[in-house]
Assembly symmetry: C3
Homo-oligomer: 646 residues x 3
């Protein structure tokens, strides 16, 4: 199904009915409204003006459109901020982040929590049983603009409370963090500070707990809204629209309170801005299409976060917020839409119905131009609507390959990279690209999540291996590939007493006795099954009775295997992983062949989709006699083909 | 005429008479004094010590020198700042900008305005009718060190007042800025904040109004001084010394209150520091001469700002303030001086008489060394003085080409670049260089200024086309070339309802329906009259019934013409403009031929000057039989030739 | 002798005796303890817990180990900071530098001075006569993490006092700084501000005095501790452990109060982080060894600071604090240790006994791993201990070459570089590398220190030439080479009235009448004895009756000589200096031949050591029949050879 984001408050009331009619005619099902409307529904404290929103919803509903109603908390109005300055967040430099754009609040502000509850209750009570309201979006893009973490007085207060709840006794905190080092011991929780603005780096355990706290504050804030919506709006789903890679809070955890995960897909801006890192060459090559794994990575991540998932905002043309904002190549809006469905999306909703010719996003295209004419994206959406009408989409099945994705790993390696280039994001993205370049479908699983049914599991790096992770690995039938630093840390970011990989040694008897991080250009060679692969960034020294299955040039072991578990004692490149995982997948009976540049595959049920990000047609690897339901055996530049498994 | 900047307060009183005598002997006419003297004329509040200044002026006057007296407001003394801390400005990070250098005041400080009026009145009353005082310089280098804009409490207060005066009603402000977007609506002017330190980018309309406000504050502050000087110093001219490209305030507007525009010309520092951007290759090639268009651009700009214009400070040797401070190539001080006169300067005044061996600028050369011996620049100035004595300079006539220069465009594209490389400065400089490399003389005209008499007009980009601009274009006989984004914005930085180029569509029926900005390396090709030109940065899609006269590689129109108006729907490179404007100028009967590297031409009356920035002699394009009044048909390295039109 | 740093507070009490025994067995003599122990000896104000430290010292002493006891002032506990927030320092951006790591205090805090005296008195009284305590380390790594300079209220107050003491009269300060420039004159010392956060650059004389003040504050703070230790701990030596290049305070001056200078040697981290600048190529080539002159430079510097000197912390494996932390090549821990002894170290002490698996430095190796097993460094230290036992080290004699090293020059050129690349550090390091690449031994001498006995003296640049420096140069028998800008400044950073090199003109009649600084890529050529050398960065113009002995390409003089003094009127490259100093040294009868890449020599008494930083064996330049006491005529990769002069 298709949807769109709509801002009735931006347009004259006279337009609404025509807009609704045209939405229906285009084939849209859902319309998201309201998430930035606070100053219009409550222009002054307690002065409520819901009538316009009543009318807008009614107008949409009258055309049979289903409304997803956003709670308006991403943008508290100025009067609220002026009355409660403690609403505002502080940046890591210690400066107040002021009113004038959006997300200007701290998740730890008590005033803001109270006002959020109040406004959400008002919305929930008024629209909770409205027949046109099909579901809710809580707030908008948590964490965007680096807003998960705040460094002000309210945050400090809440952090101290959180630590007290976690540790009970300040001595336990001192012991967990190793505060005896550098005389950092606290005598009470009231002595604890935030970890920013210290003379040199703060204790990484301090940072990690602050990051955990910050993540939980987002979830708690979200839960407060969800509870109200559940109470007053029975039968409606609750969603949030996540962003491109925003690892500052644990999406798996937060989504436990949701029914639907959704995300906002802007492939061009994400490629230009390195939401996931893209080489300079690929930035040029894919400037007008987005990197071919960019959207897919997120589709698979958010499907892992929640089986029901949407694209809540789909890029429909050029945007405004990247350093460079190209026009999508012709066909890309259609391609992106189909790609989301291929990966299992329930709904793809375009952002936005019409380009608003003012304020920050005036250069952000919509399906319609600001002069009320349809824009390019409109016609591509129309084509998808037609195609969707002609095709029953089968259900999405689990993939053969799982990638264990660990938000905490991102925090931990940020708190303690030990080498400037060691980034969890980069490592996970490298594994993902290698798998996708082989044509493999991938599921994302949280650490400790079930690995049953998978044939191949990759764990880019999970530094803290808890009992549930150990158990999932122990019971996995899959071939498992563990990346460097897996198991290298205790719960409180110490080195395990038995050395890394800590508790994993029970399954894989290796002991990492030394590590090093390397400047780009200082590299080493790994030899495996006759091939030689150069790498850099990270290397480990391992003591073990196992015979290595790959070695460094100096003869030390680089790759180890015990039963179905494998361990990589170095930073793997995409080239190495493509070779290594390709051969491994092959040995497991999975079809894994390198795809040509720009081509990507994805199965949904008995359908196989091929997406062509290249500027020239390409042959698709369909079996002879395949039944094509979209396109054909040669997929156009920026085109889509799909065939049924015969 | 020649002049010099002199600081009697730096030197023993016994030196003054000899200094004055030597100035006269060198052939100087004007001497600027006093602009940094506040702590010497008022060392404590109300404790006035004017005697030394009386004597200094008298000593200079006795040698027949004319004094330009600076008001001492660029450097308020410490006692004043301590008494009124609200004098100080705030930087964009929210930090107070402290005492200890210069320009440590905010244009919006009420205390400072009051104290400025007081000290200027004291100066004006004491010296307003002094026979040796020929004119005034108000303050010094407005805007230098990023001081136009300040972000403190006094600025906020004044900004709110300014907005109230502009909009009357806060609803009008909300409507103009589109504050319904992201619930940014204000209920009163007292709720408005400054646009800095927001969570993500503030509303660009907010920024634009803040930039306009900041510009007007400078003009208002300047006017307050001018009014006092006019009242007490009849018959004296009033000047200000502007800087190299400092677009933060509208120089055309401020200069309405002046009699003389002047500017401070430091070609080497400007080239090293990218006051106008210079390629790495040209930075090396022109390290000891300055870029050959650097001074000329400013001469032409300030002649446009005011027909009577000076170089108030001419670089006389190495300076201190750039990242690298080379010694000028031999002859360059003379060349720069002649170039200023060729472009129409009334006076060229060297900075400074003698190098002061202390404080921030101790490495800034003067005409004399700190050991009281003449420095290299002294001898070059002496040569110019001799040459000037032998040559009557004809009056300056309008050039055949006008460049419409728009300060507001700089602010607007800074508030909303939409693509990281889109800079008004770069665009205007690109047009200018292309014209100058063809040997064309150029006048600068403000938007809405008369275009009568010009054969060719270039408008690099004027986003807000007001009625007076439209009228000037409508009545122009010239061929007009409009750059991208011209007419693309409403008065409040919205997209015009009829889409860009907004009201210009009445003259040029094109409609820009989409734009894109591009990463360097993502480029496109424009085909025009058989040539192909690669470009990047910016491209537009146009709907029109006109047949394009140039096309993109995908067949879409890139260059459009209707009657005498032409529109470029892309970011033009210097190479394209040199070809395009060269052919266009030729078709208009203008002589426009590519000049060799380093050579530049400029006409003043019946004289044509050639300036050689190259390290080797070059032939000048003088007609046969030309009468040379400086140099000859081959111009020396770093040399000047001038001939009379025959 | 060998030593180690040990933190009993990190380990269970039950381990201490075994640790002590193993230290003895390894052959260690000294153990440093206590410098970060404040929160353990005084967990709450006045609540003292010395028992554990008593026991630890006793346990070590029982094995015959000598204790170096650190005063615990680098890490004041949280309760102290909370009680006296004025303890905290401020950064140059004006922000408080908070608790949570180390060195969180300002040297100007009166509260902190008082508490430091109190805790040091407690330590000194309790352990001053302890038979196992052999000496003291005052604080730890002064200046680390940019902590010499602080910009808070306590610093301002102390700076004003310091200025009052220096100048007596504020008029004298105004005259010295040239404050008449830009009306910066003060009416009282209470008006003076700190030089940070000004609108544009503050007066460089202001900065220089602030830098001098900051340096003296460190020395005064150190002296306060030393006085207490001397009073209560007779017969014990007092040391401080300096860092790699930390020029913010004058180490010669501070060390006047010490008995032993020591420093902390981390060759890999220093090479990665440009403690002394290393080319990109050398960063790769020497990533696992450190640059071959990196440790040596500091050994020679600290031997100049104090004849008795130690390496207090020797890198024993990978560290944690650099951007990249490689594992040392096999043999490097031994090589570094021997190199220190070759340069005259009395003791080399490894940091640390055992890797602590928590907090900031958990990735910093020790001699032992966190799992209580010996690490790689343990075995290399063991080898050195054996080798040391078999070899009597002769005393260290003065070198034939002196390098005059001037901390004030670093401050002055930082306050006033005049060209972005002009850095004292880089210049001194360039001279040093040139000398060492010729196989010459070098002593570091402070400005004004005796130059008697040296054959060759290089003065990279001493801008302020005081009477004692002049006298040392006048009486030197050595050939002296003076670098650019020597003698260029007065005591208060003005240009000398007679122009540079100021008072040096009495010995060397040249006058620098102009200088220039150059962008990299803008270069010039120097011709000397038939060779041509390209250089950049800095060039001078000289007036003199002397015939130059080297010239610029334009014929102007570049190198001047009068009697035994030579002056380089330009920035010399390492290549030029290797040629110039090589030939000069040869003419003085010194053996000076270019060494192969990676090989370095150093003599101690009648021994000559060769150190091989290259990854392949190399022949050493030993005479035939040399008696090898370590290694042989071919030195292994990462190996050491030493032979006796025959």
């Amino acid at each position: 199904m298709l949807g769109v984001c709509y801002y009735p408050e931006h347009w004259p009331r006279e337009r609404w009915a025509e807009d609704a009619r045209r939405m229906r005619e285009l084939g849209l099902t859902y319309v998201r409204v309201g998430e930035f409307s606070w100053s219009r529904v409550e222009p002054r404290e307690g002065h409520l003006e819901f009538e316009w929103l009543d009318t807008a919803i009614e107008t949409l509903g009258r055309e049979g459109l289903k409304v997803v109603l956003g709670t308006p908390t991403p943008t508290p109005p100025k009067w609220l901020v002026d009355k409660h300055p403690d609403v505002l967040a502080y940046d890591v430099q210690g400066r107040v982040r002021r009113f004038g754009s959006r997300r200007h609040y701290s998740f730890s502000s008590r005033s803001y929590l109270e006002h959020s509850r109040r406004i959400v209750s008002l919305f929930a009570r008024r629209y909770g049983n409205n027949p046109h309201v099909a579901g809710w979006q809580v707030d908008n893009e948590y964490g965007c603009h680096d807003t998960t973490r705040s460094y002000g007085p309210e945050d400090l207060r809440a952090f101290r409370e959180w630590l007290r709840a976690r540790y009970g006794d300040v001595g336990a905190l001192n012991a967990a963090w190793g505060n005896v080092f550098w005389s950092m011991e606290y005598q009470s929780f009231e002595e604890v500070e935030l970890p920013n603005l210290t003379v040199t780096e703060a204790n990484p355990s301090h940072w990690l707990d602050f990051y955990r706290f910050s993540s939980e504050q987002v979830a708690a804030y979200n839960r407060a809204q969800v509870e109200i919506l559940r109470a007053h709006s029975p039968g409606r789903f609750i969603a949030h629209n996540f962003m491109g890679y925003t690892p500052d809070f644990d999406h798996f955890k937060l989504a436990e309170d949701l029914d639907v995960a959704s995300w906002d897909s802007y492939p061009l801006g994400f490629t230009d801005m390195d939401v996931l890192p893209v080489s300079q060459q690929d930035k040029l090559r894919y400037a007008r299409t987005g990197h071919p794994d960019m959207a897919a990575f997120h589709h698979d991540l958010y499907r892992g976060v929640k089986p029901r998932w949407w694209v809540m905002e789909q890029q429909p043309g050029p945007v405004n917020w990247a350093a460079h904002n190209p026009s999508p190549a012709p066909g890309m809006v259609r391609l992106w839409t189909w790609e989301a469905f291929a990966h299992g999306a329930e709904v793809v909703s375009y952002f936005r119905w019409r380009q608003f010719p003012q304020a920050q996003e005036q250069f952000h295209a919509g399906l319609n131009r600001p002069d009320f004419r349809p824009d390019v994206g409109y016609f591509e959406a129309e084509q998808v609507a037609r195609e969707l009408g002609a095709l029953e989409l089968p259900p999405t099945h689990p993939a053969p390959v799982a990638l264990v994705f660990d938000y905490e790993a991102d925090w931990l390696y940020r708190a303690q990279p030990q080498g400037q280039e060691f980034s969890y994001r980069d490592l996970a993205w490298t594994f993902y690209q290698a798998l996708r370049s082989l044509g493999l479908d991938v599921d994302f699983v949280r650490p400790g999540g079930s690995l049953q049914g998978y044939r191949l599991v990759v764990v880019p790096s999970t530094p803290i291996v808890r009992e549930e992770t150990l158990e999932a690995l122990r019971s996995a039938q899959a071939a498992v590939v563990l990346g460097p630093r897996t198991g290298s840390k205790t719960e409180s970011l110490g080195i395990p007493p038995e050395l890394p990989p800590g508790p994993l040694q029970a399954l894989l008897p290796v002991k990492v006795v030394r590590v090093e991080s390397l400047r780009p250009g200082v590299d080493f060679e790994v030899e495996w099954e006759g091939g030689r692969y150069r790498s850099s960034v990270w290397r480990e020294w391992v003591e073990t009775a196992l015979e290595p299955i790959g070695n460094f040039a100096d003869g030390k072991g680089a790759i180890f295997q015990n039963n179905n578990l494998r361990y990589l004692a170095f930073w793997p490149t995409r080239e190495f992983l493509a070779a290594y995982l390709g051969r491994l997948a092959g040995s497991l009976g999975l079809r894994a062949h390198p795809l040509p540049e720009g081509l990507r595959l994805r199965r949904r049920g008995d359908l196989t989709f091929a997406f062509n990000y290249a500027p020239h047609p390409q042959a698709v690897p369909a079996p002879e006699g395949a039944e094509f339901v979209l396109g054909g055996p040669t997929v156009d530049a920026y085109g889509v083909s799909a065939w049924r498994r015969t």
